[in-house]
Structure formats: structure tokens, C-alpha cells
Subunit: 361 residues, 4 copies
């Protein structure tokens, strides 16, 4: 289902860039969970553009309202409606609508799929679509925290060619991540990243990057072999985000270069029970969580919208020069951090409910 | 749903390593497609172990029977039952069942999830599970070929540290791929790969690798934003395969290091209509196919089962040495090639049906 | 999925009686359909309470807003958000919340399922929940009308013991139905029905009834054997409505008393192609529409909320007298008419899309 | 999904009348359930034709094999493959295939939907399709019995105009039901029913009937508002069976004639907790089970295949006389009894798993 995600903890989202607003229905959230807008707003604030020079200067406040599903601060087990109004609700002017699809954007493919496309702002392919995900993910995260003390922390691990030192997966926190606007907990790398973004911006260009995410206190037993293995659902979740080009769980592509004798994670006794000494598996074996931290990486390409002119072709195939106006994110990864966390939470909460289902009383 | 994949072109699989057999139900295959066992068997033969020194020497013939859903060589639109008997149907002896979970295998996680696990051979986490996928995928591929002349070709692009030269995505064929047992169309690299596998095998070790896949003649318009974007479903499909650690579409992680001005794919006129000059997008923009070749990479870790002894712990947490007997694949990527092709076909066929649904007469 | 309905033309609803509002997301509506609030509002107006003495005198205007998914009056293929604010948004006072579950209402079962329930107004089990269905159904109906000239007409065929003469299934229209407040196109029966409802109301009691529905210009070939046969999905749709106790397709229970030689519908040539002489099948054979009118009946019980005192027990099992205040519908069937039409439209639109999927170009 | 049923406890079925065989995959059955063929075969034997004069004299033994998903007599949590071979596997001869669709059968609609149909025996619309349901339902029933002591008993409550006295819903057992071949626990009515069936058979005709079913020890809290209310899923399940025309829960259509003051079920203290004095609700309120017995009725039409000649039209619309050969069930209800029980078990087991998912530890 295209705009619905999850089997039991399900989110359906709606809204594009210039309609009345964006939002979501969270269906299947267990009852009696304490929930208020204040549980959701902080991640929306972290997602919001205009937080810094790193991101687009458009001003959007993105205040969420819970429309249904709670009473007196508790979830009822009924669907939770969520809404964030759009500030700019004017649809574009068709007569001024570009006859030239923007390269590597969704103009051409939406037109081919639907025979129509939103006249401005990217429509449903706009990053604004992710607001519903972030709001729903905040609810999933609350559920995981209350029931399993699960912690989900994502950060920018590289921007362009600037790599960073991996933080301690056990201790890295959102506070560490938010110490700088690029959201990289490595202070040295973060400076280089910010310099690179400034440079790219001045060049009217854009740059990609990688977000890494760790999920701690994920109970063993999550994930549904064979088609809904935990890494498969995490992969789908992350690759459904705008601008993503890759996903790695645990050792990832680097793991393909290793020998089994080195890559295998030996079991050792830990305080909570059986654990592993190394964690090349990324906390998942046979598609099921093993109790170790689940960690993964998501690749984001450079944003397609750049403010320099581009040689391309119009819908008819005629050669054309595209001059993009407006001001846009030169790099999406800082704002992608809470979105990645949201999608991880949605996958894990759904997996918890699925695993609950087969437990014998 | 754990053992079902697809919205309209759906496959449900069953079977583990030592039960009566493995198989699948393909539900939603359009009617009046010419179909016989001969359309399915070739890919099962490519998947089969024992084809060479590269793979495990166990002999399994894996002959498929179509149980239902066709008559006089045509599909009826009803579910297609598929069955492949297991040669060795004896369940293991519980009394001899290991008290030590194999490192980086699924013994521990299956036990944690289900409170029980198959006594031998890996059960459902065994590679034998993929037979149902390959059989179903062959039907999906036939449908795509007949309706859209779609071609799907996968190959081994690296083994361990041995990389290969990328073949021409427009012309590379299964015949090219099958010129050597490692299934790499680069003759020079293939030799080094085979040497490496032999070396690793002699060392009682294992090694990982990468499979690259290209899908040509994929019509523009496939993929369902936002949660079932084409790359998201391909990602889920590939990461649901045993031993996978990563997925890249188009430019992948390398794309994160590029600037937008370089990464953007300019539109140009092509004979079939509008195309792109470069293809860093991997044939997908905004989650929807654009008519260019769809290509992606899948990372496979080194197999967990190695024949050297490993220091680990038993289920109780006591230190233990695991001595794995038997003979196993030192490297899974050659056999993964048809499995990757099958999953790609399942995703594309399902996407075609979903797109058919909204076309206006 | 509990609050989502449909495979391709999908609706997810949210909202209960005293939250901010109620609404729906319609996901999968084909693009380029002309759509505005004016296409939706009329059926909401027919559903609205306070239209007459027949229904509850609460005043709710129920104005719908399209939040997303359209631009310049055309659907975009993206999810259509729909919202209707609640007038009375105050949650109940827990301290005054009844310790006595209302007989045959959902108080007890919601408490048992969720361990919590809305403090007032019935929450999600309230008839207000059906607003989202009616709004979504109006969109489905528009799609069916534009693509297949499908017409859906429901009416009240009985109230209590008052039965009516069945109208001509080929010509009965909503105009005929709306000639009286009870929505029965038989003028004589409608008067008796209204008398009965007035009588029951004066007695502080309630009464049940039956809604019959016909769908004309349903193309042959709709319905997905075996678990999603057309009558099975219609049955689920209707039995998911509040207060329903039964569903009949075609000849229904009366058909069980007939012999096959009489019940079989002989084929005859019709202008549109092959048709049937009689239509005991109700337009569906083998779970698939045959091109004849699809017609069915839905049984609605007497509303559980009555304003006379009832001898019952409280949650602790102590004997209790329940005195229900407020003013409520003595009979739900007149307002059920547009709701039944909406659910029929949702089932048919989804079936059309599913059938589109397997058509060969 | 057409050939898949259930959200968590899922069954996918395959097979038509003259292919290799019929079967099912049960996906989602909890692990560590004792299960062997002997748990499944009895219900298949009750479904089997040729048990008496009441049913078709074709001889089919219908022995089931568990292909996967169990080891040493316990379920593994992996998909359970089930297979029953067909005795007569010959597809029909196309050259002899009738050009006249059988009235009220699925010949015409399958042809319209798929553009092809099985050449003989009804294909997927044949009653043989229900074998997979019965086998899967037996597993669901075992799970319900072991975890909740749930008992499911169905019987024939009417044949044609012959009605029977309703047995005590608390005590009626399958042993009572199986005391006669018509499967009606009312001894007097059962004789009249058998006489009627014999009469109808001699007249080369067929007759319909009603199956009533009660489910005891259904825990309170099952059912997923709003679209998957318990009665809605039961309704879908029953109306997906061949030859069904109606479904009633609790008071059914008769309930529409009652006043609320009589229809409401007052709460009273019972040994297990709060219960209701009457049970017009049929054990379900607000779409959720209340702990009282769930009971419902299913209407089956007279079988379409009769051995007298019928005036009809061929596919071209030309007048034609259809002379049906072969010997067929004059009345399907006795054999429908275990099929109704199976579908009830599938709905309840799925509902139990869904409810498990939201329980707080």
C-alpha cells in the first residue's frame, strides 16, 4: 500500500507541498499510552527547515495537532489523527508551469505515472511529505521507550567526502548530535562538514551525505522471516525516504570484503543474558533482532534542486536550459536525522506488536 | 506479512531444510500467460548447489512441479501452486541438538523469537527457503518479458577485495554471466575471484561479495509513493534474502560524495521518448521508474558456517568451542545471482499490476 | 487492518464523538478525476442527524474540507485527506463517567479490549465514525460514475414489522427515495413506517429496520475469488457498520427455500451482451459480478440507547438501573441509507481497480 | 488479497478441481503447538463427498500431508504447507468444452473476468477449493482449543422449508450434529430434511438450506473496529464460501423487527465475570466479542448444477438447452458444516493474535 506503512502499528500519511496541510493517521497504537502534542513537537522542530544556514531558509513552524485517538492524555486504542497546516496553501499557476522537468527530480516520473502533477513545490515528492512520518514516528518512539526503554539516535556520519569518527554506539545521545547544526557528534568532522556545505552553497550546488542510526534496547525476537526480516523492513523504511540511494545494516558493503572467521560475532555472556562480542551483524541475525544494538546507515544523494542553470530537455525532448529560482537545502542530511529516527521507530514498534501476537500466555 | 510478498502479484512461500519439501503459491498472476515447468526450472538449476567447486557439493536436483493454476499450458488467473521435494527429509535428533548457537547464524534468534527451532540444517533460515522465491520469480519474469520485453540480468561484481569492471548495462546478458562458475562477466576479475574462493575454502573460511543487477525495458511509471517507492520495495526484497547486509540503487553510497550539478541526470531525447544522459538515479526518480535501466547492488556477507573451530558461548553463557562439520559454500554470491533476479522480477511484476490498476481506459 | 479498508482504492478513517473532528485518507484514487467538496457534501448532508423527527435533533453541520490530493479541481493520484470538525469537542468528565455499561452498546467490550474507553458519546463506536466512510464513499462513487456510469441507490425497505413493496431495481432513484423522511420509495409503507417510528419514540423506545441497495452498471468481472468474492467484501463492508445484524445478497435467506430449477438464472441475450432472465444471484456468480444489477439487504437492529430505564448490572456485577438521558435516534435506517451507498461504492471502486490490474493491454 | 485470508493467522489456498491437488499455506500459526495430520484429517473427512446419499457419490479420500512447519509434532512458527492430491487430475478436453455457460454457475463470470476458464469441473469455483480452508481451519481450531478452550459447533438448521428447533447453544456438540447424515441435531426435523433431499434428488433438482454455528469460550475483546469488526470478518469469511447468499449474527434480520427495550441484552453477574441475560447481540457488541457465545447463520442456495435440462443461452446469446450430466450434491449444507466451522476458527484465531498484540505486559 503506497501511503500506508506497517502491519499492526500502521501509519497512513497525506499531504503535499501546497495543499491545506499534511498529516497522518496512526492506527494500531496500543491503548493507555500517555500522549500529548508535546511528545511529538520536538522531533518536528528538529525536522523543520530554517533552523540554520545549513538548511533552507523558508519559515515553517509545523505545529502538530492531535485530532483524535486520545482523551485526558491517554491513547484510546482508536486511530490517532495528526495534522500540520501548510503556511503557503496556494496551488501553482498552471499557465506558468514549467514545460521542462527538473533533472533528477520527480516531475517527469509523476507525470508519466499519473498523467498529472502538482503545479509547484514538488507535490507529494516534496520533503514536506515527511512531516506525517515524523509525527507518527514520535508516537512509535514513545511506545517503545515506555515498554522497552528503547533509544533511537541518528546522526550525520559523512557529508560529501568528509567522514567522521564513529561515536560509541552505546552512549551517543541526541544531545551529542545536536551540539552542532550539521548534527555530527564528531566535533572536528562537523566543522569540516559545515565548511563544505557553505562552500557548496556558495557554488549554487548541493552535496550528499550519510546518516547513521543506532537503536538500543531492542528486545531479541523482533522481525518476521522471511519477507519482513527486520533489516528488510528497515531497508524499505529508509529507502522510502526522499533522496535515499543506499542502506547498510551492520557491516554493510564493507562486510563483503571480510572473511567469515572475522565477521562472525562470537557469543558471550552479558548481564542481560547472551550477547555477542563483536556486532558486525548490526543486531540482527536471520532477520531477527538478537538484543544487541541495531545500527544501520542511509545514503542521501545531493539534492536535485540547485540554483545554477542546467542543460537538459523539455517534455517534448527539445534542448532546454533550466534556471531554478528559490532557495533550497544545499544538503538534506541534518534535517534527515529525525526522519530516519522516526522511520526506525515505526518499524520497531510494528515489530514489537507482531512479536507480542505469538507470545504464549 | 512474513511469508507473503507483494500486493497484487503475490508470492507466499513455505518449507525449511529437512521437511517434506519447499514451495510457493503465486497468487495474482494474470491469466492467459503461457507457463510450464520449463519456464521455471532453468533458474532453479542456476540456484542449485553442487554446480561447481565454488558452491557446496551437496547434490539436490530441485525439480519443480506446478500443482495448480494452469491448464493446457496457460495460466487460469487462479493461484499457482509450486512444489520442490526435499531429498533429505529427516528431521534432526533433538538429543544431539547443539546447546551452542552458531555465531552469526539464526539459531539464537529463532530460539528467542519462537521458543523452538528446527533441529538441523538451519530450518527456515536455510538457503533452501529461497527455492520458492526463485520459482515464483521465474513466473514474474515470464510475465514481464511477455508484456514489456523486460530483461533482468544479475552478476557477481565483487568477491572479497576483488572488484570487477562494470559491464555495459545495456548489453550484458545471462550468457555473459554464466561463462564462468563465479558468474562475473569480467574474465580477468572472475579468475581472481575463483582463486580467492579456492584460497578461502582451503583456509576453512568463507568470504562475502556483491551482486549487481540491471533491469532493462522497465516501463516508466512503476513504483508507489511514498512507502512503496520502487527502490524501497527492491530494497526490502533484496534485504529479505539470507546473508544480505546492504543495498544500493544507482549511485548508492558513492553518490553521497557527489555534487548535485554532477549527480543530476539531464534529460535528453531518445528514440523511445524522453530519457536521461547519465543514470546516477538508477532508473528511479521520486520512487518511480523513468524508463532508464534500473540497476542496484546487493551486499552479501561471508557465510556464517565455516569449518574451522570457533570460540563462542553456549545458550547458558558458558564458554564453548564450536566445531562445525559438513561442507558448506565458502561464498554464496554465485548462487545468489538467480535469487536476486527472482526478487527483482517479483517487485517489478507487482509494480506493473499496481500501475495497470490506475490507468484510465 | 482495523481502520483501513480496501486493497487499491483504500480508505483509512479516524475520529470519535468528542475529539477535534473526524475524517479519512483516501489512498489510491486514480488521478485526473474531477473532484471538489461539492461532490462529497450532499451525501454527508443526507447522513447528518437533525434532518427530521425521524432522527436525532442534535445539530451538526458536518462540512467537509479536502485537505490534500487535488489541485485545480483534479485528483493528483496522491492521498486525499478529508476532515470534518466536531462541534462539541469536550471530552467527558471521568469523575461522572458511568460505572454501568449501557446494555448492547460498546462500553463493556471497548473496556475489555482496550482497558480504557472514551468518557462520553460512544467514542469510536459512535455513529459519528461513519462520516469518514461517507466522505470517502462519495469519491469512490464519483470515480465509478465517471468511468462506468455506475449508479448506487439504497432505501429503507422495512421498519420493524412494516414491510414495503420492492421498487423497480432498474429505475429507482435517490430522488424517489428522498421523497419522504424515512427514505422509503413506497409511499404507503413510508407513512406506516413514520407512524411506527413516532409511536416508538413516544414510548421512549427504538426500532430496527432493513436497508436495501441496488448497484446498476456494475461491469462484469468484479470480485476476487476466493476470499474477496464480491459478496464477501460487500458483506464485510456492511457488517462493519454500527448496529448491523445481517446481510443478504440476491435471494438471500429466502433463496435457501427454493429449488435449483427455480433459483437458477437462465442466460438470455441482452443489448449489452449476455444477461440473465431472473436475478436471484443478485448480480454475482462465483463471487464475480455478471453485469446484472447487484442488490443486497442490510439488517439494522434497534438502537441500543433508549430513554427508558433499564435493569442491568454495573461493571462490578452489581444490579443497577440505567437511566439514559439525552435524545437519540429511535431508528437509524433513514440515516443509514447514504452510509450503505458509501460502503458499496468503496467495495466496487476497489474491485474495479483490482480488475484493471490484470487486464492485458 | 484474493486467495489469502487473515492478518496475522493467515491462510493462502491453491488448487482447482482437476489439477495435481489442492492445499494451503498457514502462515503465522504460533510456535510450539502440538500438531499432526490427525488433528486435520477428521474435519476433511466430514467435508468429503460420498459420505451418504445426501451428498455426491464421487469417491475422494482427501488425505492431507503436512509438508512443512512442524518438527517432532510441534509447530515451529514457520509456514505450514498442506497438500491433498486430486484423484482425477486430467484437465478437460477443450474441443468438447461447452459453449453454453451453466446458469447460476461461475462459467460466465470466470470467462468475463479472466478471459479463460478451467475446462471442466468448475475449476477454482468448485467446492474442492474448500479443502485448503478446512485443513487450515483445523489448525486454527487446535490453537483456539489449546489456548482458550474454544469450541466451535455448526449444524444444519433448515433445508428448504424444513426448519428445526434450535438446540441449546451451550451444550450442542459435534457428536449431536453427526447423529444423522443431514447434520441436524433435531431428530424430528432431520428426518424431514432427509426426506426432502431424497425427493429433490429424485426430481433431478436441488435445494438450499441454512447452517447455524456457535462458538463458545470466545474471550471478550476480539474484533478490530471499525472495518474488521468481528461480525464483519465472520461475514466476509462465510460469504466467501461457494453458494452462500446471506449471513446473520445474533438476532439477524428478525432483530430488525424488535424494539430496543426487548433487544438490548441486560448485563448480569456470571461466574466468569460480567455476562448478559439474553444474547440477541450474538456475543458481539460494537464489533468486539463480549464473552458470550458467538452465534451466526449462513444461507446456502440450492446448488446450480442440476440433472434436468435447462432452457438458457450460449456464450453468443443463442437460445440453448443445457443437459447436465454427472451426479451432484442435491443439497450442500451437510458438507458445509465443517467448512463453516473452519472459517469461524480462522477468523477467531486471527482475532486472538491481533488482540494479543496490544496487550500490555
Amino acid at each position: 500500500m503506497s501511503n500506508t506503512f506497517g502491519t499492526l502499528f500502521r501509519v497512513a500519511t497525506f499531504g503535499e507541498s501546497h495543499c491545506k496541510g499534511v498529516g497522518a493517521i496512526v492506527d494500531g497504537c496500543p491503548p493507555r499510552l500517555e500522549l500529548a502534542e508535546a511528545d511529538i513537537q520536538p522531533q518536528l522542530d528538529r525536522r523543520r527547515p530554517g533552523q540554520s544556514d545549513m538548511t533552507t531558509p523558508r519559515s515553517e513552524t509545523d505545529s502538530v495537532t492531535i485530532l483524535s485517538g486520545t482523551e485526558n492524555g491517554l491513547t484510546l486504542g482508536t486511530p490517532i489523527g495528526l495534522f500540520v497546516p501548510n503556511k503557503d496553501q496556494r496551488p501553482g499557476d498552471y499557465s506558468k508551469m514549467s514545460t521542462t522537468p527538473r533533472p533528477s527530480h520527480a516531475d517527469y516520473t509523476y507525470q508519466m505515472k499519473y498523467g498529472i502533477r502538482a503545479s509547484s513545490g514538488g507535490g507529494r515528492s516534496s520533503a514536506r511529505e515527511t512531516i506525517g512520518r515524523v509525527a507518527a514516528g514520535a508516537i512509535a518512539e514513545k511506545y517503545l521507550r515506555v515498554t522497552h526503554q528503547t533509544e533511537i539516535v541518528a546522526w550525520v556520519s559523512s557529508v560529501g567526502d568528509v567522514d567522521s569518527v564513529q561515536p560509541d554506539l552505546i552512549t551517543v545521545s541526541r544531545a551529542n548530535v545536536d551540539t552542532n547544526m550539521i548534527r555530527c557528534p564528531d566535533p572536528k568532522a562537523s566543522k569540516h562538514m559545515m565548511q563544505l556545505v557553505a562552500e557548496v552553497k556558495d557554488a549554487h550546488d548541493s552535496i550528499g551525505g550519510v546518516v547513521t542510526c543506532v537503536c538500543r534496547n531492542v528486545p531479541a525476537g523482533l522481525g518476521e522471516p522471511v519477507f519482513s526480516k527486520l533489516e528488510a523492513k528497515l531497508g524499505q523504511a529508509m529507502l522510502s525516504l526522499p533522496a535515499t540511494k543506499g542502506f547498510e545494516i551492520g557491516s554493510g558493503f564493507a562486510g563483503t570484503r571480510m572473511r567469515g572467521s572475522r565477521h562472525n560475532d562470537p557469543f558471550i555472556k552479558k548481564s542481560r543474558g547472551l550477547g555477542t562480542k563483536t556486532n558486525f551483524s548490526g543486531g540482527i541475525q536471520g532477520g531477527i533482532s538478537n538484543g544487541e544494538p541495531v545500527y544501520f546507515k542511509v545514503a542521501f544523494k545531493p539534492p536535485a534542486t540547485i540554483s545554477q542553470s542546467q542543460q537538459t530537455a523539455d517534455f517534448e525532448g527539445n534542448s532546454a536550459i533550466l534556471e531554478a529560482g528559490g532557495r533550497h537545502d544545499p544538503c538534506v542530511v541534518p534535517r534527515a536525522v529525525p526522519i530516519v529516527e522516526a522511520m526506525a521507530a515505526l518499524v520497531l514498534a510494528d515489530s514489537v506488536l507482531c512479536q507480542n501476537a505469538i507470545r504464549r500466555e
